[in-house]
């Protein structure tokens, strides 16, 4: 088997106040996979995500990205390989124009000139926002800002795209447009979400994180269909949604 894009072994983490958020997480994600990370509030999903690019360092265990261990020396390369799209696009977009914002990441990687320009345009085209390049981000709609937030990370050509609640606060049309964009990208995806139909639509595989450990790992349809498992981890399907009858693209 190839080297996994994400390789977490026994990752444990406690916050400085003593709260133990992760109790030994093992997770492997391979190239080209789209994996949903599910779990109730407070399960440690966000803590786990912040371990993937070295914002947090595990107390025990190890994290590697395509074979490169996440350590202080490798931080810049790790952050290029792992692109995190945070939940609130206003946190991610902080520059005066969309173009400057998308250029921020690649500039930190040392790109300049026409190469930088090309990266920015490609990333904006991939999310269908190229015509908004010179607009200030706060004048865009919420759905557009979320798409630009995805572009800011795509411009760094990451090996894995990590999205934290990408469908939250989106109207159904924007939600579907984002799904189309994510499907069109040739990149490994880790989707952190409470939106279970979205997980089923986009990710063949799902992982349940509960109380700081991986409680289940398998095909999304099987996991969502296992009532006892779902109930044990405070996961509920929306009213009227049955994964057995949901059509998948």
């Amino acid at each position: 088997m190839s080297v996994p894009v994400l390789d977490l072994q026994g990752v444990a983490f406690a916050y400085p106040d003593g709260h133990q958020a992760l109790h030994g997480v093992d997770l492997h994600v391979h190239q080209g996979e789209r994996v949903a990370l599910l779990g109730p509030n407070g399960a440690g999903k966000t803590t786990l995500v912040l371990h993937l690019n070295g914002i947090l360092m595990p107390g025990l265990g190890s994290v590697s990205v395509s074979g490169l261990p996440v350590t202080k020396e490798n931080l810049l390369e790790v952050r290029r390989r792992v692109g995190i799209v945070f939940q609130d696009p206003d946190d991610q977009l902080f520059m005066g124009t969309v173009r400057e914002d998308v250029a921020f990441g690649p500039k930190n990687l040392g790109l300049r000139g026409p190469e930088l320009e090309r990266r920015v345009l490609e990333a904006l085209e991939a999310v269908g926002m190229a015509e908004y390049a010179d607009r200030p981000p706060h004048h865009l709609s919420f759905g557009q800002r979320r798409r630009v937030a995805v572009a800011t990370v795509l411009a760094m050509q990451p090996e894995v795209l990590v999205l934290d609640e990408p469908s939250s606060n989106l109207d159904p049309a924007s939600r579907r447009e984002l799904a189309d964009i994510l499907r069109s990208l040739d990149v490994t995806v880790l989707l952190v979400t409470h939106d279970l139909p979205y997980a089923l639509e986009l990710c063949p595989r799902s992982v349940i994180l509960s109380d700081g450990v991986v409680a289940a790992d398998g095909p999304t349809a099987d996991i969502l269909g296992d009532e006892a498992l779902m109930k044990a981890h405070r996961l509920e399907l929306p009213f009227g949604f049955d994964p057995r009858f949901a059509s998948r693209p």
Partner: protein, 222 residues
């Protein structure tokens, strides 16, 4: 969401004043202010000259005078202070409309008022004819330390986000029967301000986190 162009203080246009490079306007504004402040307050015709000059610039800029007049309201607390001066200052007194006022105080109030008004009007004109982004670029060209320019850039970027948050908190308060007219409820406003501060602080931390995630190392890439 605001207008499609720039900020609330900005009035979109293509006049000569709009097109003038931002750093030229900034230097002109500072020079103008210093001159106004240095002018002795009893050179009345000179102040009239300053005022006419600003009026001419407003005319050139095509910014409607009412647009500027409405925004002059920021000066009000200042005006109140100036209006108090003739009452509290000491020295020889003069009779005005049956009130005994201090001569020194009157002159002081006039000086404050005219210099303040000229300054506010000139600054508003700069804001109305210059996009915030251009203003920052202008400051950068004037060799303002990049860190300060960055901080101002963040301020402009998040001003709308924070005012939006403030507005939502306001709506949520009113929806639960809060009335700002009742002084007994004023402590609530103080608490809201505290909450807004903490939320903004936390947002700052999240923004920093998102920047780190894209390889930020403490220096803005040039």
């Amino acid at each position: 969401m605001g207008a499609p162009h720039g900020h609330k203080l900005h009035f979109h246009g293509h006049s000569w004043l709009h097109r003038l490079p931002a750093h030229v306007k900034l230097v002109a504004l500072v020079a103008f202010m210093l001159t106004v402040v240095a002018t002795p307050r009893d050179w009345y015709p000179v102040f009239a000259g300053y005022f006419l000059m600003l009026v001419a610039l407003v005319a050139i800029s095509h910014v409607p005078p009412t647009y500027l007049a409405k925004r002059m309201v920021v000066e009000v607390p200042f005006v109140v202070f100036a209006a108090l001066l003739p009452f509290v200052a000491t020295g020889p007194q003069v009779e005005v409309l049956g009130l005994s006022l201090s001569e020194q105080g009157l002159l002081g109030a006039w000086g404050l008022l005219v210099k303040g008004t000229l300054g506010v009007l000139a600054s508003l004109l700069l804001a109305a004819t210059t996009e915030p982004g251009a203003l920052l670029a202008g400051l950068e060209r004037l060799r303002m330390p990049p860190l300060l320019v960055q901080i101002m850039g963040f301020m402009i970027r998040y001003l709308d986000v924070v005012t939006d948050e403030l507005r939502r908190m306001h709506v949520a308060r009113e929806s639960r029967g809060f009335s700002a007219r009742d002084p007994r409820q004023w402590p609530v406003i103080a608490k809201s301000a505290g909450v807004l501060f903490i939320r903004s602080y936390e947002r700052g931390e999240r923004v920093h986190l998102a920047m780190l995630s894209r390889g930020y190392d403490g220096r803005m890439p040039r």
